[in-house]
Symmetry: D2
Subunit: 88 residues, 4 copies
């Protein structure tokens, strides 16, 4: 991962960890389920945005280099595996 991407990913991860700590408090304090669920959905959306950031970096670096080095099958196979996992 490039430095800028890693830094930004860690920043987002900190936000996600804080958000999850808030979810924990809500459950411990017996907050209404519906309100807890709205927050866990928001956490998942934040994780998806962090993933998009890492995928962006991955495509621009490893995938481009992989294709140029003749390792198409490997880098494209990995992308398809990720795609399948993401949709499972």
């Amino acid at each position: 991962m490039q430095d800028a991407t890693r830094k930004e990913a860690l920043k987002r991860l900190s936000y996600i960890e804080g958000h999850l700590a808030g979810v924990r408090r809500m459950i411990e304090e017996d907050t209404y389920c519906v309100d807890v669920l709205k927050q866990t959905y928001a956490v998942r959306r934040a994780i998806e945005k962090m993933e998009a950031l890492m995928l962006d970096g991955h495509l621009h670096t490893c995938v481009v280099e992989g294709v140029r080095d003749g390792r198409d099958e490997q880098v494209i196979g990995e992308l398809l595996e990720l795609y399948e996992l993401a949709n499972k």
Copy 2:
């Protein structure tokens, strides 16, 4: 939330927090993006399972009680709002 549901939800949340801490280490140690992404997908799946557990409890308690008390519009409106949020 009923006691058993809250207890189980908190247990799963602990697992999710541990999993995310693992993701943090992976990013800090510059693990291959593809491997990090596989783990963040797994974290999202674990959150979805925790949500299913809470939704199950919610339907069996608050929704049933709400309908019996004549608050259909409220509890069903909330379910539809959650459904829409989950699919956004």
Copy 3:
């Protein structure tokens, strides 16, 4: 399904069928994959909206009646099954 819901669902279905016919033409005419995929995503979104409409109707009728008639377990079990299927 109530008359208004069925009518609206069929109207949306006609739109979806027309959209899919457009996707067929695009594939037959060898349109650029990326453009075809954007259309199939739009088709899936349209199906999701039709589903939200039917779910709305289902919650306001069958689910409320089921709970009032003491068939909570059945109607709630079905909702959870749908939820799981939708997320698979």
Copy 4:
């Protein structure tokens, strides 16, 4: 799209069209909503599989060629756009 991919995509599309025609009949004959929804979910899954097939072909042909021809920014930008659309 390569011939084999297009042929397979059209075959799957025919199956999807038939499946949707079944959904239409179910709605017209006033089938229980829950059963209709299970079928529309299956239709969406079938569309996703057709998309995976087309994406596979796209990555192995247009993306690899694009990177080799120095059009990285274009082909990768398109992939990220698709990724964002698919998750919206």
